[in-house]
Symmetry: C2
């Protein structure tokens, strides 16, 4: 018996014995549910067309919730689970920002005056990161940094894992060839160091990229494996390790994470890239940094990147460099990781979703029901106000099957779980 | 007789007949004043040392007022006449920003969410500028745009006028040779089109740069001359016209300005660069754009510059694109130009300062008294809280002689005039 619940267009199912195998019954149930749910009213169908058009305009990235809200104001966005962030850290940052900037009317100075130059901000960051400030390059978001190092230091060939964050092959110079190390879903997208090193020896790229944890699957290469890998990769001209999600990746049972940034002093071919948008949910501010050999920082600064941080980004880095803020942030980081683990466990229990192991603040979900990834993402958006990310545009992932879902705060996570259960569970 | 006025450490002079020529007397007076004023107390001398160190760290740019205030908090900065802006437009922008973003608590969305991609913002700008949006490249400040086009489209040789805005020769690729067309102070830094075209034919640069009005002298090449020049420069691969100060440059007796941006459709080698920091005093936001052939915009966007505008920059461009805001801005632009003209006229009357003709929101002043540019800038800063710009680091200008002074609002302009009269007049 299938009971239609018109209030939220969701469905509930009660099974009963038809005298057939449980497996056959389950399959029929899924097909029937999927058929029923495909039905869209004309308003929904029109909205979906507009969403798809906007997605197409955005290339291999998703339109931001901001763009969505502006371009399709009819959407009632409740939860942005496309955006990768820690909402508790966002809250913490905003509290400080209001108390220290907005209320004492200091916002004007941040908007009006030239921000400090790159090296001035790097000096502050160097103190909190306990790194040589001359090895720090401050960026207008990690995207700018990726572009800068690929344009400047990468020449013939770059090796990236698939699936990946697309700028690593999109932002290369036109004369750079991209080659891929494909992580297979059959291996849970696990990285195999030996196979990788074989590929490096065969392809001889001048640049290799390791995103750790990886985006969009959340797979993690432990610190000790990375250390060994870096030794083996000493002959590669550029080794880029993107640690934008490292704050969510804990080693062992505790909540400690280990960055490779302090290895840059030893390994002149290493560049560690760090976005701040993921830890703090401040993508609108555009803040990131990279750690690399001082002569590379000098090369970049010698002909550009002078005032590439905004006044707000400078305030953010100032705050981030303060020990009192660091202590508060650490609490919010752990709180978020705890909640995220519960969220991923609950996601994994939903029928019709396979969740891959993740060490990041998102999970890659594979759909096995009747809905395609695109259909699920659009329905979640227009019916539940939840914005998730279809991975149809991700090289190395079968189209129509994969959705990336970001962890949010507890009530938002619960709402995502409830909505998914109704829609596909 | 020299009367010391300890309150502001300034000096007043009363001349009397010594039976010598007026000219000799005047010279003696200047020398004597200069000697007296060189005297610094130890606190001032120490401050000056710190200012000079900070300036040295900032290379061929001045430390921002923001950096100055942070690094030397003892300075009581009252007027930032180093920063080139229209303070009335800043006020107008801030009023809107508070009313539309801060008060209705919409700031969070600007900080938290990803801003729109480059093309989305270009589409909005295209409407207000009445230009093809595909020919607009949005930048994280003009500095980023200059870097992008020099790195991507300039190869062997770039021709820039001297004096100039230094990124035009600093941000080139290491393999690009810079050659110069020197504007002479004897000609009031006037641009000579014929001599220029001769130089272009001789040097055969692949890129030429014309900043109009020019920074730091404010010299202006009329629209009709520019149109003719662009025709003659059709064979040069890249013609960059930087119109960052064009809103202050009026043709004829009225307040109209004429941009060359609409010529890009006709001239595929033309790029018009526009900073927004100068018109609106929002340097902390980092906002600028360039107009160039659509295939060049595509080339730049094909491998980068995806999210290079912050959420605040997007709000700024949204506001700038609104007709109601444009009408209000136009009033503030004219009000500022009127005040600036009075200010430059008053500056020109100060003994010991020669002011070059300017069509921008600043004036280049040559010192003929006993104080060097550096000394004047430091004294204005520590004794009067006025921040001006020494041009000692500007190629093509004799060191020690030139100071660039920005026009501000009326009371600030009056304070600058009073202070300069006391210090050198």
């Amino acid at each position: 018996m299938i009971v239609q619940r018109p209030r939220d267009n969701g469905l509930k199912f009660k099974g009963f014995d038809l005298g057939v195998s449980a497996r056959w019954l389950q399959e029929q149930r899924k097909k029937s549910l999927a058929r029923a749910r495909v039905g869209l009213n004309p308003r929904e169908a029109a909205l979906i067309e507009r969403i798809k058009r906007l997605k197409k305009e955005s290339g291999t990235h998703s339109p931001s919730a901001w763009t969505l809200a502006q371009r399709i104001p009819e959407l009632r966005l409740k939860v942005d689970a496309c955006f990768l962030s820690n909402p508790y850290a966002t809250q913490l940052f905003l509290m400080h920002f209001h108390r220290e900037v907005v209320r004492p009317r200091k916002l004007r100075a941040l908007l009006e005056l030239y921000p400090s130059q790159n090296r001035v901000i790097a000096a502050k960051l160097g103190r909190v990161l306990e790194l040589n400030p001359e090895s720090i390059f401050v960026g207008n978001g990690a995207a700018e940094i990726i572009q800068a190092i690929l344009h400047r230091f990468t020449h013939e060939k770059i090796l990236v894992n698939l699936p990946t964050f697309s700028p690593y092959y999109e932002f290369t110079r036109p004369d750079t060839q991209a080659v891929y190390n494909v992580l297979r879903k059959e291996d849970n997208f696990c990285f195999n160091p030996d196979a990788y090193l074989d590929l490096v020896r065969r392809e001889r790229p001048d640049t290799v990229v390791l995103i750790n944890p990886n985006n969009p699957d959340g797979g993690y290469i432990p610190y000790v494996v990375m250390r060994g890998l870096l030794e083996e990769l000493r002959s590669v001209k550029n080794v880029i390790v993107d640690e934008s999600f490292i704050h969510f990746a804990c080693e062992g049972n505790g909540y400690l994470y280990r960055s490779l940034a302090d290895q840059v002093g030893r390994l002149p071919n290493l560049t560690v890239v760090k976005s701040m948008s993921k830890d703090f949910g401040v993508a609108g501010i555009r803040a990131g940094y990279a750690v690399m050999a001082p002569d590379r920082v000098r090369t970049l600064l010698d002909n550009g990147f002078l005032w590439n941080s905004s006044g707000l980004a400078e305030y953010f880095f100032d705050l981030y460099s303060r020990p009192d803020f660091q202590a508060q942030y650490e609490r919010e980081r752990i709180r978020f990781i705890r909640n995220s683990r519960r969220f991923f466990a609950a996601l994994a229990k939903i029928d019709g979703l396979h969740i891959y192991p993740t060490h990041a603040n998102f999970a890659l979900a594979e759909l096995s029901g009747g809905l395609s990834a695109d259909e699920l993402v659009c329905r979640l958006l227009i019916r539940r106000g939840i914005y998730t990310r279809t991975c149809d545009d991700k090289k190395g992932l079968e189209a129509g099957k994969f959705v990336r879902i970001a962890a949010r705060n507890r009530p938002e996570n619960a709402y995502i779980i409830r909505s998914l259960r109704r829609m596909i569970g």
